[in-house]
């Protein structure tokens, strides 16, 4: 059993046997989690009580307390944004040698498709001299604050499996996502907002809710979606006709009845329910307060370039900052739409137009508020795009790029990551990683590490086995740690 489990086990068992159970608030039956038995049979009224979201000590001192993951779903073209390959321009129109391609399977193109040169101009920026394409003018301003990793590789070459893989370490739905693991390991720091929040802009997400699901971990670790339509959190608004006073009086009646029930039945689970209702009531206030951007200055809104009333990626970035200020531990912002099978140039223009300013503003804003030091920001997609062109008259496609799992680029900032460096490299065609490969499992190990957790010790017993985010893989990328 890992020591993390041990320490809270002891705490909880002591608490339980010294009669504390059932009187505190926010306690939830969590026998299996605590015992590591992995049985999903734990349930209400069955004993060992403790708040699964209570803040817990990490394995070691963390560098990051919070994570904001900007997930560029659909997979942006690294070759036109970060990984400049002049050789491709020279080879344009010719196929790559089969020796380069190996046995790679493709989604749409044939392996002998011709090369497509960079679609945009690149130039060097900042003191670090990092190369960025002209599509990322805002990111260029914070380039010395970020770490660009050009050597990321993944196992999956289709969107849904690759997105699920990036989030859960496994290509099929059913495993916990990184945010869920983070909450399982560390608990929450706020009682007024969900500790793991998911927002999205752009198209619908290929991987669906499996990307932020809690898998076999308790449901309480599932990411909570903040929606663009209707209530930001499902049902956070009282029904029409129910004013604040009626809501409060309703809750008071519920509480009164439940307290009497607790006395009569003696089931500590009732105390948990009372606490959850109180938190629900607080959410009804804290969620609208969070969403209300009136208190943000004009300068800030301009920095992000967002309309406070209209859902957008930039607004989601600003909301993310407000969330972490209020104790939210893990934020996912999905922007789906980078799947440029045709007209990669046009695709980048519109998606960079929608995301570049918001992402860069987030880094700047966190920086100036002193939050970047212990907030990890991650930007990237689920895989890369091919150096070869995708053309298909049957599908009406031209000048696109297909899926490319071998190499892609991500950037990270803050939270214990070195600033102003570029890590790893690909070959002249941008096809294979030739220097310092970073597998998705390595990134996952690194993210947990920055949060103060050893990815090999953060385990959960399910179906007879101790599961980890990184399965049996993953190495912390020490070279990029500050």
């Amino acid at each position: 059993m890992n020591t993390l489990e041990n320490s809270y086990l002891e705490k909880v068992t002591r608490r339980h046997f010294f009669g504390e159970c059932g009187v505190g608030v926010g306690k939830i039956a969590l026998a299996s989690l605590l015992c590591g038995s992995g049985s999903r049979a734990w349930s209400a009224g069955q004993g060992g009580t403790m708040d699964p979201l209570a803040a817990r000590e990490p394995h070691f001192a963390p560098r990051a307390k919070r994570v904001i993951h900007l997930f560029m779903a659909g997979a942006p073209s690294q070759l036109d944004l970060f990984d400049y390959k002049p050789e491709l321009a020279k080879l344009e129109g010719k196929p790559l040698p089969p020796s380069v391609i190996g046995g790679q399977r493709y989604a749409f193109i044939r392996p002998d498709a011709a090369v497509l040169g960079p679609q945009y101009r690149f130039s060097k920026h900042g003191q670090s001299g990092a190369e960025l394409s002209e599509m990322l003018p805002h990111l260029a301003k914070v380039v010395d604050d970020i770490c660009i990793v050009k050597s990321v590789t993944t196992d999956q070459f289709n969107h849904a499996p690759a997105q699920i893989f990036f989030n859960t370490g496994f290509s099929q739905p059913g495993r916990p996502s990184m945010g869920s693991w983070a909450l399982y390991g560390l608990g929450a720091e706020t009682q007024d907002l969900p500790a793991f929040v998911v927002m999205s802009t752009g198209a619908g997400i290929s991987g669906g809710s499996a990307c932020w699901g809690s898998g076999f971990l308790p449901t309480v670790y599932t990411g909570v979606r903040f929606r663009n339509q209707g209530d930001p959190i499902l049902d956070v608004t009282s029904p029409v006709g129910v004013d604040a006073r009626l809501q409060r009086e309703t809750l008071d009646l519920v509480k009164g009845m439940n307290e009497r029930r607790l006395k009569g039945e003696g089931d500590p689970e009732i105390a948990t329910r009372i606490a959850q209702y109180e938190m629900a009531f607080r959410l009804q206030t804290s969620a609208p307060e969070l969403m209300d951007l009136k208190s943000e200055g004009k300068e800030t809104l301009e920095l992000y370039g967002c309309d406070p009333e209209k859902p957008s990626f930039a607004r989601a970035c600003l909301l993310a900052r407000r969330m972490i200020e209020r104790g939210v531990r893990y934020v996912n912002i999905y922007h789906e739409g980078w799947d440029a099978h045709s007209n990669v140039a046009g695709n980048l223009k519109s998606n960079c137009g929608a995301t570049d300013q918001g992402a860069a503003a987030l880094v700047m804003d966190l920086q100036r508020r002193g939050l970047l030091d212990d907030t990890l920001v991650i930007w990237g997609g689920e895989f890369g795009r091919t150096p070869m062109v995708e053309t298909n008259p049957l599908l009406g496609r031209a000048q696109g790029r297909d899926h490319h799992p071998q190499a892609f680029t991500m950037w990270m900032a803050g939270g214990g990551i070195k600033r102003g460096i570029t890590y790893g490299a690909t070959d002249e065609m941008g096809f294979h990683v030739v220097d310092k490969p970073v597998h998705v499992h390595d990134l996952q190990a690194t993210i947990l590490h920055l949060l103060g957790m050893d990815h090999e010790r953060l385990t959960y017993r399910f179906a007879g086995r101790d599961f980890r985010l990184t399965d049996v893989h993953g190495k912390v990328i020490r070279d990029i740690l500050a």
């Binding site: 209707g230 209530d231 049902d235 006709g241 297909d402």
Partner: protein
């Protein structure tokens, strides 16, 4: 007492076994029990490197088998020397402080506690006895129960015996109101009405409870409730999963489950029909539909996936789900390597996969039982309507002048016939110009890269089996003599194909589509070129010409004309000499699998222009016959063809088209179909479990540590299904009984309901579990019988309160593992929803059929791929039971998911039970709850009687019990306050009450109270 408490706490800490079975507490100094104390430790700390998996075994040492543990290891030392811990390497190593020596090694990041080390040491001291794993030995009725009161009595015997040993007493029976609510939810998923509760509470009959149980077991809602549990295991959903997550039709299987459970189909038959119903002799449609169980796997339709890779994932899911559902084993662990803990080898995992790997996965049309009669009727109607078509022609105008030999005063009938005759002959004339003499060829050889091609009696070829994104067919046809000028390809519909064919596209693209990317020919071994292609129909962006352009990205397809025959004609650049062999190579490429399902080849030596037409070759042959050589029935055939094809009657034929469609518009559900014997699909071991790394081939086989397949039995899926439910199988009955126990009591006798292996927990009451398992089999695997026994037991009927006599048990055993009190569990999501609807008087009891779209908050679907809309159903469909709610895997129905309902991604043996603020928000604010509150508010407002009487009824309706004085006081205070606020207009009565008849303030008042009651803890608890 002290000993027991410390055992309990240490057990909680160890997290593996809870309450050593049978013996309350080990006597100090006794040899630790292998099964309960030793193996859990060995399993947790040692087996990963010294267990069944020889590939990762270190130092050649194996500790899960006694002989191996006792023999000399690689180091020359013996790990275990019975009775001599000092000489045992195992003991030395776990005691060592040297990081080079100590076990488990520091790299394992698992440290043993001193008390755990002590257990192993004492075990070696005591002679290191091993014992076979309890779950792998067939169960027996033993343990001292000798009564003849049946399972219910046995349950109470074993439970109470154990309680007595622990110094605990059972709780008294719950009061009648609690009991009827508990058993109604458990058996039917629905609460009793206030009237039902009163009737039961006041029933003086001695067998009142049993009568109630029998009534509930006989109600159709029982089947719905228990089908839902089975759907969790089967990972049922109404969509395909992954990115596109498009709809699928498999609800006929869901309805099959409901019916089977209501009919109390014995669990062994229930198993066999679902796993291998298609293989039963003379399989009925119902038995074929049953095989949908394993078609609930997900289907990835994302652009550009490899269909075979996701087929492999589906197979792995089938093995894992079968393991979990029937065997209670975590078979999935052996996909990548030999199981680290259980004796399942890597190879045996694939042997189990082989049982499932030999099935094809077609759609099956669910036709009514009288389909054949109906078909005959429709065919007759079509024939009749066709004949009648001739009457649709306009009669020739009389003023057209006298016809030769006639007076000019013909009847309308005769004048119409004249029109018909003229139209027919002009059609004949037209058609004869383009008809060509075609010779249908029969292939002498038909093979493909992967699909199975079989030649049909009419010379056509039918494809079945697996597909890739680049399929190739190779066909050899003997050519007739003469100069062959063109090849004709007829693509044919067939009801065995997706959407009726002619193509076999089944995912991502339109069902029944195909793409002939390239057609290549050689004659007598020499390649010949085509110079032109025509088609009778082509889908957008496709053409027959594109099928001979040497570009594999273009081609010909007939999407949009599924279920219809079409043709393409390809002319040779120059005529080829017949009498030799024609080799055809057909390529089918797209970003999805798009090969052809059924087709036929014909050739001609006609030297004229050949244009592809949809008119069949047989008709062409008649058209080319001399008028006087036509037999009357041949002429009739031509005439019928004319009627069905002449453009003049286009509009008149719609009725016929409609009739024809009525024969194909049945739902197609997903099923299994065992492959033909000649075309078995080989199964391989996959290195590291990876699709792209197949290794040696394996034959189907069962796990060697369990009972063998009966000798002489063919190793197929049917044999496997029978093996699962054979009396010798030690696991299936235990696992099934345990899952039922967990459903009623909130947790199983084995808490790890899905793991009966070494890593699973020991049963709290092993003798009881075994007794029930054997009894279950002896009583013909009756699920209803089992459920009845469980709910009839005194153990089930106990009060669930932790106060009073139960206090001691609650303190000592908070999880109620010993069953010293009744179950208290949160209701499942569907129970909560259905219960509220029932209370509001709007629940629909309509059974079966396509899933429905009840209201849910907007924005649930916004993150799903393609942002699909949720078209909320109208009327009754808003209020169907929760199990009929459309289940979309990537965006599950919000309320069900919030209360831990599964998404259908994986097999779920027992749902999580969580308690979150989001649940509180749902109960307070969700549209379904609000509508139900308004509905029930309306009912109460419309009642006659005093406020107190209404409160009494409302309380009982919602919470199933009479109101206490304290309750009344609190509710009345709330009501008074809301009444005041409504009177003053502070509260918006119309908004609160919603639409509906009756006094709006009264409705608003009661709605506000109902909404509060719905949120009481006891409203969503089974107490």
């Amino acid at each position: 007492m002290r000993a027991a408490v410390s055992l309990l706490s240490s057990v909680l800490l160890a997290g593996s076994t809870v309450f050593a079975a049978q013996s309350p507490a080990p006597a100090a100094g006794a040899v630790p029990d292998y099964q309960h104390e030793v193996r859990p430790l060995l399993s947790q700390f040692c087996f990963k490197c010294h267990g069944p998996d020889e590939k990762t075994r270190k130092g050649d040492l194996r500790l899960d088998v006694r002989e191996a543990a006792l023999s000399k290891g690689k180091s020359g030392e013996r790990a275990v020397v019975p009775g001599k811990p000092g000489e045992s390497e195992l003991v030395k190593r776990i005691l060592s402080h040297d990081p080079e020596e100590v076990m488990p090694p520091p790299s394992a990041k698992k440290e043993m506690r001193a008390d755990q080390v002590e257990v192993l040491k004492r075990w070696v001291e005591g002679g290191a006895p091993y014992a076979p794993h309890w779950a792998f030995v067939a169960p027996q009725k033993a343990g001292g129960y000798a009564g003849n009161g049946g399972a219910r009595e046995a349950i109470d015997f074993f439970i109470r015996e154990r309680l007595k040993a622990e110094g605990l007493v059972p709780a008294p029976e719950a009061d009648r109101y609690t009991l009827i609510r508990r058993v109604s939810y458990d058996l039917t998923g629905l609460p009793p009405t206030a009237e039902e509760a009163d009737a039961f509470a006041n029933d003086p009959a001695a067998d009142a409870y049993e009568k109630l149980v029998d009534r509930l077991l006989a109600s159709p809602q029982y089947g719905e409730r228990w089908a839902r549990k089975w759907l969790d295991l089967a990972r049922y959903a109404d969509t395909n999963g992954y990115e596109k997550d498009r709809p699928r039709t498999i609800w006929p299987w869901r309805d099959w489950v409901i019916e089977a459970i209501n009919a109390d189909m014995p669990f062994d038959r229930f198993t066999i029909e679902q796993l291998a119903g298609d293989m039963l002799p003379g399989a009925t449609p119902s038995q074929i539909i049953a095989t949908g169980f394993h078609r609930n796997t997900m289907l990835n339709e994302e652009g550009g996936i490899d269909p075979l890779e996701f087929r492999f994932h589906a197979l792995a899911d089938r093995v894992a789900t079968t393991g979990k559902t029937w065997l209670g084993l975590t078979t999935g662990c052996a996909q990548c390597h030999t199981h680290k803990y259980d004796p399942i080898t890597h190879r045996e995992y694939y042997q189990m996969m082989a049982f499932f790997n030999n099935a094809d996965e077609p759609d099956f049309l669910v036709r009514p039982p009288d389909f054949e009669t109906r078909r005959a009727e429709v065919e007759a109607q079509i024939a009749q309507k066709t004949v009648e078509l001739r009457t649709k022609f306009k009669p020739q105008a009389p003023e057209a002048g006298p016809v030769a030999g006639r007076s000019g005063e013909e009847s309308e009938e005769v004048r119409r016939e004249a029109t018909v005759a003229r139209a027919f002959s002009s059609w004949l004339e037209q058609e004869r110009k383009v008809a060509r003499p075609w010779t249908v060829l029969r292939p002498q050889e038909a093979r493909a890269n992967l699909p199975v091609l079989t030649v049909q009696p009419d010379g056509s070829v039918l494809a079945s089996g697996d597909q890739t994104k680049a399929d190739v067919y190779w066909l050899k046809y003997p050519l007739p003599a003469g100069k062959i000028t063109a090849v004709r390809l007829d693509v044919l519909p067939d009801e065995r194909l997706p959407a009726g064919g002619p193509g076999r596209a089944y995912y991502e693209g339109p069902k029944g589509d195909f793409n002939l990317s390239d057609l290549r020919a050689s004659v007598g071994g020499v390649a010949v070129k085509f110079s032109g292609g025509t088609h009778s129909f082509a889908a957008k962006n496709t053409s027959a010409a594109a099928a001979i352009d040497d570009n594999l990205q273009s081609g010909w397809g007939t999407n949009g004309a599924q279920g219809q025959a079409h043709s393409a004609v390809f002319r040779f650049e120059s005529p080829v000499e017949g009498g030799r062999l024609l080799d055809l190579e057909m390529h089918f490429e797209r970003h999805y699998s798009a090969d052809l399902g059924r087709f036929r080849i014909a050739v001609t030596s006609d030297s004229g222009e050949c244009i592809a037409r949809s008119v069949p070759v047989e008709i062409d042959a008649l058209l080319l016959k001399a008028e006087n050589a036509l037999a009357p029935e041949e002429r009739e055939t031509l005439f019928r063809e004319f009627l069905l094809r002449t453009p003049e009657l286009e509009a008149q034929r719609t009725q016929i088209d409609r009739l024809r469609k009525s024969l194909t518009s049945y739902p197609a559900t997903l099923v299994f179909s065992e492959r033909p014997k000649e075309f078995p699909r080989p199964t391989h071991v996959h290195h590291r479990g990876e699709f792209l790394q197949p290794a040696e081939e394996v034959q189907p086989g069962v796990f060697s540590f369990l009972n063998p397949l009966p000798s002489g039995e063919r190793g197929d899926r049917l044999a496997f299904a029978r093996w699962l439910v054979s009396r010798e199988n030690p696991l299936t009955a235990r696992v099934t009984v345990n899952r039922a126990w967990a459903a009623f009591f909130g947790r199983g006798l084995v808490r790890t309901v899905d793991d009966f292996g070494y890593q699973g927990e020991m049963p709290t009451h092993p003798a009881l579990l075994d007794w029930l398992a054997v009894d279950f089999m002896e009583r013909g695997w009756s699920m209803k019988g089992l459920h009845k026994e469980l709910v009839m037991s005194k153990t089930y009927r106990q009060s669930s309160s932790r106060m009073g006599v139960a206090q001691k048990g609650a303190e000592r055993d908070p999880q109620n593992l010993l069953c010293s009190r009744g179950p208290r569990v949160r209701l499942e999501s569907e129970m909560i929803r259905d219960g509220l609807l029932k209370m509001a008087g709007v629940l629909s009891l309509k059974m079966g059929g396509p899933s429905v779209f009840p209201p849910q908050p907007e924005g649930v679907m916004e993150a799903a791929y393609g942002k699909p809309s949720w078209k909320t159903s109208d009327g009754e469909s808003r209020y169907r039971r929760g199990l009929y709610t459309y289940s979309k895997r990537t965006a599950p129905y919000a309320m069900l998911a919030t209360f831990d309902g599964p998404a259908g991604d994986v097999c779920v043996a027992q749902r999580e039970v969580s308690d979150t603020p989001l649940q509180a928000l749902t109960m307070l604010n969700d549209v379904v709850v609000v509508e139900a509150a308004q509905g029930l508010g309306r009912l109460v407002a419309a009642m006659t009687g005093s406020e107190e009487e209404r409160l009494e009824w409302l309380f009982k309706t919602c919470l199933g019990r009479p109101m206490a004085q304290d309750d009344l006081t609190m509710l009345q205070r709330f009501l008074a306050e809301q009444r005041r606020r409504l009177e003053t207009g502070e509260l918006d009565a119309a908004a609160l009450a919603g639409k509906g008849p009756g006094d709006v303030k009264q409705r608003a008042l009661w709605t506000s109270l109902v909404r509060a009651i719905f949120n009481f803890d006891e409203s969503i608890m089974k107490g």
